[in-house]
C-alpha cells in the first residue's frame, strides 16, 4: 500500500514536471467549454424564441435542458477523452523503457502490480482534474436552468468509469513498446474499435449483434446518461479495467520469465 502511494505521488507530480498535463488539461477544458458554449447558447436562443412562438415547442417537443445540453455534453466529453487520454497514458511504461529507468524501478522491492496501479492512479488523478474543470459549465446550467441532477451524477460516473477503462488499456499498450507514439496510436486505434464496434451490430446476426453491442463503449454510456447506474454497465467497465490491468501485469511479469 505504501509503495503504491509513493508511486502514485511520484507519477502524479511528474505529469506536472512536463508540459503534457497542462497541454492535455487545457485542450480538454477549452474544447469542452467551447462545445458547451455553443449548445448552451443555441438552447437559450431556442427557449427564448419558444416563449414567443408556441409552434416551436410543438416542433421540438418540450424544451428540456437535460435533454438538449447535458446529454450532448457528456457524449462530446467522451469523444474528447478518446483522443486525449492516450496522450496521458503513452508515457507511463514506454518512457521508463526508453530512458532505462525501468531497470531501477523493477529492481526495487515493488511488485509489478504496485507499479501498474501507481501509474494507473497517477493518470486517474490528472483525468479527475480534467473532469472537475468541466463543472463550471454544469453550474452555469444549474443557475440558468433546472437540470436533472440524477442524470448529471450518473453521466459523470459513467465518464469516470469510461476514462478509467481508456487508461487501463493505454497503460497496457505502453508496457508493450518503448516508443511513446506507437503506444498512443495503438491505444487510440483499439479504443476507436471499442467505440464504434456497435455500428456493425445492426448488420450482424442477432447474437453476434448483441455481443458487439455489449462490447461497445457507447452502448454502456447510454444508460448512464439516462440517469441510471445499471449493474451490467458497471460490471462491463470494471471487467474491462481488470482485464487490461491483468494483461499489463502479465506483460511486465513476462520480462522475468525464463526464456
Amino acid at each position: 500500500m505504501r509503495n503504491f502511494w509513493c508511486l502514485f505521488v511520484k507519477e502524479f507530480r511528474s505529469y506536472f514536471n512536463s508540459p503534457i498535463a497542462f497541454v492535455v488539461i487545457t485542450i480538454f477544458t477549452v474544447l469542452s467549454g467551447y462545445y458547451f458554449y455553443n449548445i448552451f447558447a443555441g438552447f437559450s436562443t431556442l427557449s427564448f424564441q419558444a416563449q414567443t412562438n408556441p409552434m416551436l415547442v410543438k416542433q421540438y417537443g418540450a424544451l428540456n435542458v437535460t435533454e438538449s445540453v447535458i446529454r450532448p455534453l457528456i457524449g462530446t466529453l467522451s469523444g474528447v477523452m478518446l483522443i486525449l487520454l492516450p496522450m496521458l497514458t503513452m508515457r507511463s511504461f514506454s518512457e521508463e523503457k526508453k530512458t532505462g529507468t525501468i531497470e531501477l524501478l523493477l529492481t526495487y522491492p515493488v511488485t509489478d502490480m504496485e507499479a501498474i496501479m501507481g501509474k494507473f492512479a497517477g493518470c486517474m488523478g490528472i483525468f479527475a482534474i480534467m473532469l472537475a474543470l468541466t463543472f463550471p459549465s454544469i453550474i452555469l446550467v444549474e443557475v440558468f436552468g433546472d437540470p436533472e441532477w440524477g442524470v448529471i451524477i450518473a453521466g459523470y460516473a459513467g465518464l469516470f468509469l469510461m476514462g478509467a477503462a481508456f487508461i487501463s488499456l493505454g497503460i497496457f499498450m505502453s508496457t508493450l513498446t518503448e516508443n511513446q507514439v506507437v503506444a498512443a496510436v495503438l491505444t487510440f486505434s483499439c479504443l476507436l474499435v471499442f467505440y464504434i464496434i456497435s455500428y456493425s451490430a445492426g448488420l450482424a446476426g442477432e447474437t453476434i449483434g448483441r455481443v458487439l453491442e455489449y462490447l461497445s463503449f457507447n452502448y454502456h454510456i447510454r444508460t448512464f446518461v439516462k440517469g441510471v447506474i445499471d449493474s451490467s454497465d458497471l460490471s462491463y467497465y470494471l471487467l474491462f479495467i481488470i482485464f487490461f490491468v491483468f494483461l499489463s501485469n502479465r506483460s511486465l511479469e513476462s520480462k522475468r520469465w525464463r526464456g
Binding site: 530512458t99 532505462g100 531497470e103 531501477l104 523493477l106 529492481t107 511488485t111 522475468r256 525464463r258
Partner: protein, 315 residues
C-alpha cells in the same frame, strides 16, 4: 552471501554469459574485470532480478533470484551502468521517493536523505533537478539511491566511469569505506581500481570466467610469461628433448600430431624471457621442418592486455 551456479544467459542466438559459477562471502568486496561485451552487466542484471537467466541458479542472501525475487530486491542496492534516474525530479525528492519504495520508516526518511547527500557530496545540489546535473553528480545520486536503505549487498556496475580524477578518488574511498559489513560486487575495466578496492577479482571474457583470485596472486601470474605454439615435422622424442634443452625454456607440451606428419608443441619460457627466435634456429640446426610458430591462444595475459589497453584510453 551470493551463490552463483552454472549461470547462462543467451539473447536469442547471441551469447550473454556462459556457465558462470562463483561464491561471495559476507562482507567481501569482489570485482568483475573484463573487456567490453564480456558479460559483466548481464551477470549483475540477473543477480538484481532485472532479468532471468536462461539456465543455472543464483541466490543472494539465501533467496533465489528467480523464485524469491522480492526478498532479494529488499536486500540489495543497485547502481546500473547507465545510471538511469528520473531526470524530472529534484535530487532530494527523488531520494525520498526511493527511500519510500525501499521501505524506510517515514520518520527516518528526511534525516536519512540528508545524511546520504552529505556522504556522497550532493548537499550543494539540493535545489537542482536530476536532469540538470553533470554525469559525475548523477553518478553520485545513483550511488546515494543504491545506499539509501543501507543494503546488505551492493551491486555497482562501473561506479567510477565518467568521473573526473578527483571524483574517482572520492568515490573509491567511499566504496572502500562501505566494505566490512556489506558485501559488494563492482565491475570495472580498470585493473588498478579493482585491485585496490577488491579482495578478490573475477576476470570475465566472452561470457566466461577466465580467472578468479586475489589481486596479489593474479599480479604474480601477470609477470609476462611468453608462450608459443610450434608445428614441427621431425621425430617426436628428439624434438621434445631438443626444445627442452633450449636455454630459458620452462616447459614443453606435446599437443598432438597432424596427418601431414607434423607435431604441435607448446613451449613456455621462464619469467620475463621470450626465446621464440631460438626455435627456428634449433630446427634448422637439426634439419627439422618448422611449419608454424604462433603465440599461444588467449591466456590470462592476453585478456589482461585487452583490459590494460582499455585502461590507457581512460587515463
Amino acid at each position: 552471501m551470493i551463490n552463483v551456479e552454472n549461470l547462462t544467459k543467451t539473447y536469442g542466438q547471441a551469447r550473454g554469459i556462459n556457465d558462470i559459477s562463483f561464491n561471495v562471502a559476507k562482507g567481501e568486496i569482489i570485482g568483475f574485470l573484463g573487456p567490453n561485451g564480456a558479460g559483466k552487466t548481464t551477470t549483475m542484471r540477473i543477480l538484481t532480478c532485472f532479468m532471468p537467466a536462461t539456465s543455472g541458479k543464483a541466490s543472494v542472501a539465501g533467496y533465489d533470484v528467480f523464485e524469491d525475487s522480492l526478498n532479494v530486491r529488499r536486500k540489495i542496492g543497485y547502481l546500473p551502468e547507465s545510471v538511469p534516474l528520473y531526470t524530472d525530479m529534484q535530487v532530494p525528492v527523488y531520494l525520498k521517493f526511493v527511500a519510500g519504495l525501499k521501505g524506510l520508516p517515514r520518520k527516518q526518511i528526511n534525516s536519512r536523505v540528508g545524511e546520504m547527500m552529505e556522504k556522497v557530496g550532493l548537499t550543494h545540489m539540493a535545489h537542482k533537478f536530476v536532469g540538470e546535473l553533470s554525469k559525475g553528480y548523477r553518478q553520485r545520486v545513483g550511488l546515494a539511491q543504491a545506499l539509501i536503505n543501507d543494503p546488505e549487498v551492493l551491486i555497482l556496475d562501473e561506479p567510477t566511469i565518467g568521473l573526473d580524477p578527483r571524483q574517482i578518488i572520492e568515490i573509491r574511498s567511499l566504496i572502500r569505506g562501505l566494505g566490512g559489513e556489506r558485501t559488494i560486487i563492482l565491475s570495472s575495466h580498470i585493473l588498478p581500481e579493482v585491485s585496490m578496492l577488491c579482495e578478490r577479482i573475477i576476470i570475465i571474457d566472452e561470457g566466461r570466467i577466465k580467472a578468479m583470485d586475489t589481486p596479489d596472486n593474479l599480479m604474480s601470474q601477470l609477470h609476462s610469461v611468453a608462450r608459443v605454439q610450434a608445428k614441427i615435422a621431425g621425430p617426436k622424442d628428439l624434438v621434445l628433448e631438443g626444445l627442452k634443452k633450449i636455454g630459458g625454456v620452462h616447459s614443453v607440451d606435446f599437443k598432438g600430431s597432424a596427418a601431414s606428419g607434423t607435431n604441435s608443441y607448446t613451449v613456455e619460457f621462464v619469467d620475463g624471457f621470450d626465446g621464440a627466435h631460438l626455435i627456428p634456429r634449433l630446427a634448422s640446426e637439426q634439419k627439422w621442418d618448422l611449419y608454424e610458430l604462433t603465440p599461444a591462444k588467449m591466456s590470462l595475459e592476453d585478456i589482461f592486455i585487452k583490459i590494460v589497453t582499455d585502461e590507457e584510453v581512460h587515463v
